[in-house]
């Protein structure tokens, strides 16, 4: 608790590297960061566009009643894509139910992703293969898993870093606090990315926290804290990359808050008209993260019509693959319900399995 130099504190205004008109930001507002190279920016853009198309498709399928539920990240693509783009192959991602496009971008197939939302099984992909933990529903709990995994990697001498997503609402949970604190005390290689989309279902951030900004919490854990424009993919990418680098080099955890906005309803069964105005949502349409990056890339000549068409084609192909995935009728074996409860077989559970097998055979 003493003798060390003070960690970086969150800035007054959110760090921004590309403004809403697509212009590069320098000086105080950039807080010493510089926008990534055009190639990286284009890659971010491409993945954001593709992800948005995916979500539009999934949301449409949900409206048709073909998915049980789907929480969309529309408007939050900069946070989602910047984080997974910055992550290394050996790193681990700890996502929430909101962060489906992060999984997609990290390589999980549409069909594996939809398993959860379609209701086939809880987690439809192999966590170890993708180095992605199951999408967490119990809020903030996954942040602790990230700290534990990062600590294990550190103990084993591996350069692996864990990145945990959290919502603004989730920061109110005790588990978020314990995760931040354990990470700081253990100097775990973990990066917390708080997507402050300003709502926890219907509850606005003002009823969630009285802090100036959420990332000010970092101060109370003795860890670096960054307050970032969460609709600026360039800024999110740079700040997250630097944090991953620091973590990898033994510099411990970082808390990053991306200020963004949830454009859609919480899930398909939510009704946002009950708690926020159309005007507010309209306003945030004006801050769209994809539009901003497009302006920049068009102005700098990177995003040509050909490239735009190419990205559009990729997006459409994914949309089709997603529809196709929905048309697969996955064969679900009810008896598998008993297969993954314990590593060690239990006779009483086998009896229950046999019971169901008989019931299924008779019906």
């Amino acid at each position: 608790m003493s003798g060390r130099s003070d960690p970086v504190r969150p800035t007054e205004l959110p760090i921004r590297l590309i403004d809403e008109k697509g212009a590069v930001v320098r000086g105080k507002r950039a807080a010493g960061f510089e926008a990534p190279d055009p190639e990286t920016l284009l890659s971010l853009y491409r993945q954001m566009v593709v992800a948005r198309r995916f979500e539009a498709q999934v949301t449409a399928l949900t409206r048709q009643g073909r998915l049980a539920t789907y929480p969309s990240a529309l408007g939050q693509e900069a946070c989602e894509i910047a984080a997974v783009s910055a992550l290394g192959a050996d790193d681990w991602l700890f996502p929430t139910y909101r962060d489906t496009i992060a999984l997609l971008t990290r390589g999980v197939s549409a069909s594996e992703i939809l398993s959860f939302f379609r209701g086939d099984w809880h987690t439809g992909f192999d966590s170890n293969a993708h180095r992605i933990a199951p999408q967490s529903t119990p809020l903030a709990t996954q942040a602790l898993h990230a700290v534990g995994l990062a600590t294990a990697a550190k103990l084993k001498g591996d350069p692996t870093v864990a990145l945990a997503f959290l919502g603004d609402g989730a920061t109110s949970e005790g588990d978020a606090h314990e995760a931040f604190n354990f990470a700081a005390v253990w100097q775990a290689p973990v990066v917390f990315v708080i997507q402050n989309n300003q709502y926890a279902i219907s509850v606005p951030i003002a009823k969630q926290s009285h802090a100036r900004v959420l990332s000010d919490k970092a101060i109370g854990y003795g860890m670096p804290g960054y307050y970032v424009d969460g609709n600026d993919a360039a800024a999110m990418y740079e700040v997250i990359s630097a944090a991953l680098e620091r973590a990898r080099n033994g510099g411990g955890p970082t808390m990053i808050e991306g200020l963004t906005y949830r454009m859609e309803s919480h899930t398909n069964s939510d009704d946002p008209t009950r708690y926020r105005s159309a005007a507010e949502t309209e306003l945030w349409h004006g801050h769209d993260p994809i539009d901003r990056l497009a302006k920049h890339l068009v102005a700098t000549g990177v995003l040509t019509e050909a490239v735009t068409a190419e990205i559009g084609a990729e997006a459409e192909a994914l949309a089709k693959a997603t529809r196709d995935a929905m048309n697969e009728e996955p064969v679900l074996d009810p008896l598998e319900l008993f297969d993954h409860v314990y590593a060690t077989p239990r006779s009483a559970l086998l009896e229950q399995r046999e019971f169901l097998a008989r019931e299924l055979a008779e019906s």
């Binding site: 049980a68 539920t69 139910y97 959860f116 939302f117 379609r118 209701g119 086939d120 099984w121 809880h122 529903t137 119990p138 809020l139 609402g169 989730a170 109110s172 949970e173 005790g174 588990d175 926890a200 279902i201 219907s202 509850v203 009823k207 969630q208 926290s209 069964s269 939510d270 009704d271 009950r274 708690y275 679900l332 009810p334 319900l337 008993f338 409860v341 009483a348 559970l349 229950q352 169901l356 019931e359 299924l360 019906s363």
Partner: protein
């Protein structure tokens, strides 16, 4: 269910079609109107009216000093409710889904349940914790748990669960009026089922079980979401010539030994249905205590028709986990008659 309907509820004499959700809203409304110490808070209970709309309209009518959205933290919700109750309020808090009551487990078991005892009765905590529970609505993981056995094993808590709109209204009013902390379990799958109810309705006391259907061959116990299953099973059984008595337990803690005992002494056979996993589930207590008390009246072991000993399945597989009338019937048929 609109607020106009709530307000007229207290004077209405004609029965209206009411959902369980609507009945709960009416009960909250009337309790708030009757007692300024009744306050409501939790996640999304304000302007949104709760994810199941049970607090719909109350924020508009009673304002922010009576009902408000709390920060997102369940231990915080229960812990602050305890403090408010220490100051004479009667908080009614909502924990959004069953599995999201677990972060509040320490506050509930170590404080809420024990405070009266710890303080030799000096401090009482008239807190109601509403928890939407159980499956049957295609919820993703962590949204379909049946957590009743955790609470019923905790001395100091009263645990009740209604199965129909009239009971929902009456039992919630009684829970709010009780000086004991009450875990009020609301079966999600029954929220939207309607019944003709005249408000304000008072049904049997919340600590009593209710015989819903008389019969002489079998006592079939159920509660919350499985009451309907029990009634359907009884119908099916009657086709087979089996005369099933159906009991809605309503109160899980305390257990109504009297009502159940009387039935079992008549039928000499009993079964209990619940969604929660069988091992260590509430049915274990029911089977054990009824057997203890009525052993020599029993012609056969008490059967438990319950969820399997597995985590609650994903939506497409939950039907295999949940006790169906067919499964109940097969169980009854498994007895030697």
């Amino acid at each position: 269910m609109t607020l106009i309907e709530h307000r007229s509820a207290a004077t209405t004499t004609a029965a209206t079609q009411l959902t369980m959700a609507g009945a709960l809203t009416a009960a909250l409304h009337d309790a708030m109107a009757d007692d300024p110490n009744v306050v409501i808070f939790g996640e999304d209970v304000g302007p949104l009216g709760g994810v199941f709309r049970v607090t719909d309209g109350l924020a508009r009518e009673f304002g922010e000093s009576r009902i408000w959205d709390s920060p997102l933290a369940e231990a915080g919700i229960v812990g602050t409710a305890i403090g408010m109750a220490m100051y004479g309020m009667r908080p009614v808090v909502e924990l959004q889904f069953d599995a999201f009551s677990y972060p509040a487990f320490e506050q509930i078991t170590s404080h809420l349940a024990k405070m009266r005892n710890r303080t030799k009765g000096h401090v009482q905590l008239p807190v109601v914790i509403r928890i939407p529970y159980a499956g049957g609505i295609g919820g993703v993981e962590h949204h379909s748990d049946s957590s009743e056995a955790y609470w019923t094993h905790t001395p100091g808590l009263t645990v009740v669960t209604p199965s129909n709109p009239a009971d929902a209204y009456s039992m919630l009013r009684e829970a709010i009026a009780s000086d004991d902390p009450v875990i009020f379990l609301e079966p999600k799958s029954r929220y939207w089922v309607k019944d003709a109810v005249t408000l304000p309705v008072r049904t049997a006391p919340m600590n009593r079980a209710q015989v819903l259907r008389e019969g002489i061959d079998v006592t079939l116990m159920a509660y919350g979401p499985t009451v309907k299953t029990a009634l359907q099973s009884a119908e099916l059984a009657s086709v087979e010539g089996l005369d099933v008595e159906v009991i809605d337990l309503r109160s899980l803690s305390p257990f109504d030994d009297e009502t159940v005992g009387a039935s079992v002494r008549k039928t000499s056979r009993a079964a209990i249905i619940h969604e929660a996993s069988q091992f260590g589930g509430y049915g274990a207590e029911v089977a054990a205590r009824v057997t203890e008390r009525e052993f020599f009246h029993l012609a056969a072991p008490i059967l438990r028709i319950a969820g399997f000993d597995i985590p609650f399945p994903a939506p497409k597989l939950e039907e295999h986990h949940l006790p169906s009338p067919e499964r109940v019937l097969a169980a009854l048929d498994s007895w030697e008659w």
